[in-house]
């Protein structure tokens, strides 16, 4: 195993909202009344059933409550033992599944307030992602601008399976605001379930949804690149979170080939997809979805032809590795330093 180094940045940890009632203090009177009067229940996404083995490592699973709901646990499990300088909090509470844009906006605002008060204010290593109500671009931009005043928010968070492909022009004001405010867009695994979770329909199983996240990331990268997001916003960085990494190169070989073949369809794509990815797209390390052998790992990183694409993550509290083995075997010390420190800092300008 490659050796961890101190001062790393964990780009994907998941603090859990204990229950919908935890957000009540952060809702206004009207929405608080709506939640209680209508008997709204906890917003737990099918993407992460609470007792699913992948949702929490056995030794990170608390005796009661949700995995990831305790700051003390997060400190004990990752912040301290991994000697992290920072960890970026990506809440996966199911606010994106709501269909009313008003309700979604109220929940997103409450969630961001909750994160500030219950997490960021209580450990100075923590940084936050702004969860946005993507069904309303106007409200999403307003929430980004509101939260961005707090420099501890270092990124905007979206789900990889949303209402529309993420490159669609209607969403571009979100990207304009993010670029303007030095906020990368983090795209995290998970679905709003407003579309079937695969491009060929609804599967039967949780395992199918989870394995299928990688395909969702692939189609989103295609959308973002060919719609021209990075031609319009060249400084914008996007980070694929919990995406897997072993698919990146073969996917780009295919996209590149078709771009060469039909680029007349999207003439605004002014650089090759491979170049766009190398300059604007990053990927979190876990889940590292390659076999545990060094020779394969060396080939996979060589295929990427860049040591800047991957950012360290534990995906806490999800069960992607055991013990301290967050780094797959075969990484050189130079690459470990890039992944754990240099690449995250180059990606997140607010990370100071």
């Amino acid at each position: 195993m490659a050796s961890l180094i101190a001062g790393g940045v964990d780009c994907d940890v998941h603090p859990a909202v204990p229950h919908l009632t935890s957000l009540l203090p952060y809702l206004n009177d009207y929405w608080r009344d709506q939640v209680t009067t209508r008997g709204m229940v906890d917003l737990i996404s099918q993407s992460y059933p609470q007792n699913s083995p992948i949702t929490a490592r056995p030794d990170w699973r608390p005796g009661s409550g949700k995995p990831g709901e305790s700051l003390a646990d997060m400190q004990r499990h990752v912040l301290d033992p991994f000697q992290l300088s920072h960890a970026i909090c990506n809440p996966l509470y199911g606010v994106q599944m709501v269909f009313s844009e008003d309700l979604q906006a109220a929940f997103c605002r409450a969630l961001n307030e909750w994160l500030t008060k219950e997490w960021l204010d209580r450990d100075q290593r923590l940084r936050g992602s702004i969860v946005i109500p993507t069904q309303s671009v106007e409200k999403a931009v307003a929430e980004i601008e509101r939260c961005a005043a707090d420099r501890r928010f270092v990124q905007v968070l979206m789900l990889v399976m949303a209402d529309t492909p993420l490159g669609k022009r209607a969403l571009w004001p979100i990207y304009e605001a993010a670029e303007r405010l030095d906020l990368p867009i983090g795209i995290h695994a998970g679905s709003a379930y407003h579309n079937p979770p695969t491009a060929v329909g609804w599967g039967s199983y949780h395992i199918e949804d989870y394995a299928g996240q990688a395909q969702a990331f692939q189609t989103q990268l295609t959308s973002l690149i060919v719609e021209g997001v990075f031609a319009k916003y060249p400084r914008l960085k996007m980070v694929m979170l919990e995406s897997g990494v072993s698919w990146i190169s073969p996917f780009l070989w295919r996209l590149h080939k078709f771009w060469r073949g039909v680029r007349m369809e999207t003439p605004w794509v002014d650089r090759a997809p491979l170049e766009i990815v190398r300059s604007n797209i990053r990927f979190s390390l876990q889940p590292f979805d390659a076999p545990p052998d060094e020779a394969t790992l060396i080939r996979l990183f060589d295929h990427m032809q860049s040591d800047e694409l991957v950012l360290f993550s534990t995906d806490y509290p999800h069960w992607q590795f055991d013990g301290q083995e967050a780094l797959p075997a075969g990484l050189t010390p130079d690459l470990v330093r890039k992944i754990m420190i240099d690449n995250p800092h180059a990606t997140y300008p607010r990370l100071t």
Binding site: I54, N195, P196, T198, G201, Q220, P250
Partner: protein
């Protein structure tokens, strides 16, 4: 990929005799709509004239994402006698089969009875296409072999069509498309796999199809390139479904061929499935072995469109991870993204691997002496 007009490029080839190859993805077309009518009952002819096919998509004619070329086909592939590209046997012989020394050509008809909401019409059209493949193609050129096209959404009638054709040496596989109403591992499709396994025929899953689902898990994209690149994601989801529903476990002699969706994604998908299966196998106790084992034993891939790395030799790593014995060369003739046989493999391939890639694997899989 080939979108330039290159007149007689093959005829001008310097090599008099080329090494024999198999082309595992050739698309035969009808010269006219009425060409199928001799194989259709009067009722269905009338139905088609009045109502059309009523597919799981909005357009009466043509695809929702306009192709890059007319009929998605090479501009130099129009037959001299007229009709769309791929509709003339003599021109296919002249342009593809003879100059490339194609010893085995597997026909995969598109725009058949698949992806149609009226399942009775779907079955009738598929059966007609199967008769037409024999009459127009395989009975006239012994190098060509047909695929049994089946009404994909009605497993029972599809299985009946397979049993009807079983043992007929004109056919070497059953053909499905990747995008259906449900992922391909779902139970409604199991009668197809059962009948194919009994008949000893591989099931080919070709890119495309309509099942009514948005073609990404995040809704409908904007462009043709997104659909084209996205075929590999659809194929991955379909294959994951086949593994996780236990289709390979239940039908251990079933062989599946992934057609025209690339293969570079296969190792990553298998690794990912293995990793999540280790965690979540209690949800799918019917999947008894690591997913990669089923894939290694029961899945093949056609090559076109080959992934095209900047450093072409990177592809050898991926092929090694898949297995040189699992790739089947294909041109996709007459489509515009045709792969030219002489150009697809970089230098540095052993003679044995080259032979397997171009011919041997296909002959073995399809049972051609």
């Amino acid at each position: 990929m080939n979108i330039q007009f290159r007149e007689s490029s093959e005829a001008a080839s310097p090599l008099a005799v080329k090494t024999a190859i198999a082309d595992c993805d050739i698309h035969p077309a009808r010269a006219t709509r009425a060409e199928l009518y001799p194989y259709l009952a009067k009722r269905w002819q009338h139905h088609l004239e009045v109502y059309g096919v009523h597919a799981y998509q909005g357009m009466m004619e043509g695809p929702p994402y306009p192709k890059a070329q007319p009929n998605a086909s090479r501009r130099d592939a129009y037959p001299p006698e007229g009709g769309p590209q791929g509709s003339s046997l003599s021109f296919m012989q002249k342009q593809l089969l003879d100059p490339h020394n194609v010893q085995l050509g597997v026909l995969n008809p598109l725009n058949t009875g698949q992806g149609i909401r009226n399942h009775e019409l779907s079955a009738a059209l598929c059966s007609a296409i199967n008769d037409w493949q024999i009459d127009k193609w395989t009975s006239k050129d012994k190098r060509l072999k047909a695929s049994i096209v089946v009404g994909n959404e009605d497993g029972l009638s599809a299985a009946a069509e397979i049993r009807e054709r079983a043992g007929d040496k004109n056919f070497v596989q059953v053909l499905l498309l990747s995008r259906n109403v449900e992922p391909l591992g779902q139970r409604r499709y199991w009668p197809i796999y059962q009948a194919a396994e009994e008949a000893g025929l591989p099931v080919g899953v070709h890119a495309f199809g309509f099942g009514g689902n948005p073609i990404t898990p995040s809704g409908w994209p904007s462009y043709y390139i997104e659909e084209m690149v996205g075929h590999s994601q659809c194929q991955q989801s379909a294959l994951a479904s086949l593994v996780l529903e236990g289709v390979f476990e239940r039908f251990p002699k079933l062989k599946m061929v992934m057609i025209e969706a690339g293969f570079g994604w296969a190792p990553s998908l298998a690794w990912r499935l293995d990793k999540v299966w280790q965690r979540l196998r209690s949800e799918v106790p019917h999947v008894k072995r690591p997913p990669s084992e089923y894939i290694r034993e029961q899945v093949w891939w056609t090559t076109q469109p080959m992934e095209d790395p900047e450093r072409r030799e990177d592809l050898f790593d991926v092929i090694k991870w898949i297995g040189w014995d699992r790739l089947l060369f294909a041109t996709d003739y007459p489509h515009w993204d045709y792969d030219e046989p002489s150009r697809v493999l970089p230098a540095g391939v052993s003679d044995d691997n080259r032979e397997a890639f171009y011919l041997g694997n296909a002959k073995k899989l399809y049972g051609i002496a």
